[in-house]
């Protein structure tokens, strides 16, 4: 039973356009959400996070939106660049779950020039 779901295995976007990666969760106790980017043969790299007391967090080209009522978050990348091509993982945690991060299966983003 997956608590964090990334329903789109892949996404293709043109350079300069917006990339929107989606993530749904089932556990209402989750209160901290993170996005990671992973290149082949490397470990996941922390991108951006958001606490459940906020609905938006922005860092440069990356913005994460949180809709608690829908149990949904999204990562927006604007403008997309070819170097953004990677696997993106959504992760969540709760005090109840301790310190473990619960990851989705990932979405592979391809940005073409």
């Amino acid at each position: 039973d997956q608590q964090v779901k990334q329903n789109s295995p892949s996404l293709s976007v043109q350079e300069g356009r917006i990339s929107i990666l989606n993530c749904d969760y089932t556990n209402s106790m989750f209160d901290y959400f993170l996005w990671y980017k992973k290149y082949p043969a490397e470990g996941p790299t922390f991108l951006i996070s958001i606490s459940s007391i906020k609905d938006k967090n922005e860092d440069g080209r990356f913005t994460v939106f949180l809709n608690k009522s829908a149990k949904h978050l999204s990562l927006h990348i604007v403008p997309s660049q070819p170097g953004d091509s990677a696997v993106y993982f959504c992760a969540a945690s709760s005090i109840q779950a301790g310190t473990a991060l619960i990851f989705g299966k990932g979405t592979t983003l391809s940005v073409s020039s």
Partner: protein, 113 residues
């Protein structure tokens, strides 16, 4: 280096063999985590240390898996009597405090034949 370092990068083991995977966290990071990532999946939590104390080992799949961090820095994940289903990438992550963004190493890819 400044990042999380894991060794070896690749390990091939015969079924039944014992293996030991090493993790050097970022200097000063109190929290250390081990995750297992199967092909096409997101990382799954195995265990968590705060300094030398193993505070959560709820994700360890069987008693063949054992982790230690005796001096609160380097950690070792040991798998005894390896089985084919143990084949995966084993990721180590560290953070300054628990529930902040965790910083991952490149992982050890274990193949059990």
């Amino acid at each position: 280096g400044a990042g999380v370092s894991q060794s070896p990068r690749y390990k091939v083991a015969k079924r039944g063999q014992d293996v030991a995977l090493r993790c050097d966290p970022i200097s000063g990071h109190v929290s250390l985590f081990w995750y297992q990532q199967a092909l096409g999946q997101g990382p799954e939590f195995l265990t968590y240390f705060q300094n030398e104390a193993q505070l959560d080992k709820s994700g360890l799949p069987s008693d063949r898996f054992f982790a230690e961090r005796p001096e609160g820095s380097v950690s070792t994940l040991k798998i005894q009597r390896t089985q084919q289903e143990d084949s995966a990438v084993y990721l180590c992550a560290s953070s300054l405090v628990a529930r902040q963004g965790q910083y991952f190493g490149a992982g050890t890819r274990l193949s059990v034949l």
